[in-house]
């Protein structure tokens, strides 16, 4: 307490937001976010706002302007493969840089990790997970599974109640992020109004546009030291337009799977013409034929579909 008091500066003094901003390395984190996550404008805007709030809060503290610690519990909704988990993982690091959480690690759980199998099993299980997540971020994937309205004796409710209590009382110790598909999460919140009110940030992850998906594909390939040839890029754009119209399209995840299959075909192609020496570039390049061999083109259905 005495230390905090000695840091208080006079009312007439001025503080430098710019200097504080620079010293926190937040720009670096935000730049990294811009670089590595394509699209997701609403998400990035919200993260920027949170960063600004925490920074301003820090300055306010210098004038002894106390305000309650903001609640940063979040809910990520969006279709499959829109980057909810990826952003949650970044969230830990970002909040640590901003000094909001102490460790910044991410604990990912689903219903299985929180809800027990018999009476008296749920509370210790949930508490153990919460203790592990303290100082960091607790990410509950497919959070709507926690509540099963069709079974009134389901233990999920008990888990939700413990979570609510911790979200309220241990606000300084952990940040809870719920994630799930939009419609199912809406239903979940309807039956748990307490949960909705305790979560300040509801962020909706939009679907990616085709050009964003292409950029993601290039980024994924670059990370694995591959690249498209000019023709392959054109073919992949075509592939995306076809694939997006088909069912079970899950955005970036579908892109990753498509790339994995293209890599298989590339390896097979290189194997087929063995005897000739290969350059480094040969090993790195995905050609149009690697993409075009997909069944999405020939039959209009997925490779993995049976028959």
């Amino acid at each position: 307490m005495s230390e905090a008091q000695s840091n208080i500066i006079a009312d007439t003094d001025k503080v430098d937001l710019e200097a504080e901003f620079k010293s926190s390395n937040i720009q670096e984190v935000l730049d990294k976010l811009d670089r590595e996550l394509i699209g997701l404008v609403p998400v990035k805007t919200r993260i920027r706002e949170i960063a600004a709030l925490l920074l301003v809060d820090r300055l306010r503290k210098q004038f002894a302007l106390t305000s309650e610690t903001p609640t940063l519990h979040m809910c990520f909704t969006g279709n499959p493969g829109t980057g909810k988990t990826t952003v949650a993982m970044r969230m830990g690091e970002i909040l640590k840089r901003l000094g909001y959480v102490r460790e910044g690690h991410l604990v990912t759980v689903t219903r299985d990790d929180l809800v027990g199998q018999y009476i008296g099993h749920t509370a210790p299980k949930t508490k153990e997970v919460i203790k592990k997540a303290m100082g960091g971020v607790l990410f509950i994937d497919e959070a709507y599974y926690l509540y099963k309205p069709e079974n009134e004796r389901d233990y999920g409710q008990e888990s939700i109640e413990i979570l609510l209590q911790v979200m309220e009382n241990n606000r300084d110790d952990l940040v809870v992020i719920l994630a799930g598909y939009k419609d199912k999460m809406d239903r979940f919140f309807q039956s748990n109004p307490g949960m909705r009110s305790r979560i300040a940030h509801h962020i909706d992850f939009p679907d990616y546009r085709p050009e964003e998906l292409l950029a993601i594909a290039k980024l994924m390939l670059a990370a694995q030291n591959y690249h498209f040839s000019a023709d392959a890029e054109k073919a992949f754009t075509e592939y995306l337009t076809l694939r997006m119209k088909m069912e079970h399209f899950s955005n970036a995840r579908s892109v990753r799977n498509a790339l994995d299959r293209a890599r298989l075909r590339q390896a097979n192609r290189l194997f087929g013409r063995r005897g000739r020496p290969l350059t480094k570039d040969d090993l790195m390049t995905l050609e149009a034929e690697d993409v075009l061999a997909s069944r999405v083109f020939s039959e209009g259905r997925l490779d993995r579909d049976p028959g």
């Binding site: 102490r102 460790e103 153990e128 203790k131 592990k132 303290m134 100082g135 960091g136 241990n170 300084d172």
Partner: protein, 144 residues
């Protein structure tokens, strides 16, 4: 001569120091977690030094990153057993066994009656000495 005025139980680390504050306990837990030791909370109302195995308050906590969770358990235990001895033990598993690496008392009864010497006459003129905690004259649960 009384060497330990106030009959304070001196077992484990820091027991000759004044009571640890929560901030100090947090710092000690932090040290344990940095070494990836598992931390457990235990309680007893039998302060005899040979009483090695105290009751466990929940399972030992593995894979924690932050002391806040353990402090929460300590405070739960204090609430449940305000007049018991509570200690925090950190276990080091690098040698293949969970061997205690740290152990210190974080809660003690308000009044500690201390220990008395018991003399037992045995064969010949021999005397055997042992110590006996006054608190354990009463049954378990009513001692403090």
């Amino acid at each position: 001569m009384m060497t330990n005025t106030g009959n304070r139980l001196t077992q484990g680390q820091f027991s000759f120091l004044p009571e640890l504050t929560d901030a100090q306990i947090t710092a000690q837990i932090k040290w344990a977690l940095q070494h990836s030791w598992a931390v457990s909370v235990e309680y007893t109302d039998d302060p005899h030094p040979r009483n090695t195995y105290w009751e466990m308050f929940g399972n030992p906590m593995f894979d924690l990153k932050d002391p806040a969770g353990i402090l929460m358990e300590i405070n739960n235990c204090r609430k449940t057993f305000p007049n018991h001895y509570i200690r925090v033990t950190a276990f080091n598993s690098t040698r293949g066994t969970e061997s205690p690496a740290m152990s210190y008392i974080v809660n003690r009864p308000k009044k500690e009656p201390g220990f008395g010497v018991v003399r037992q006459e045995v064969d010949g003129r021999n005397i055997r000495y042992t110590i006996h905690s006054y608190a354990t004259d009463k049954p378990e649960g009513e001692r403090y």
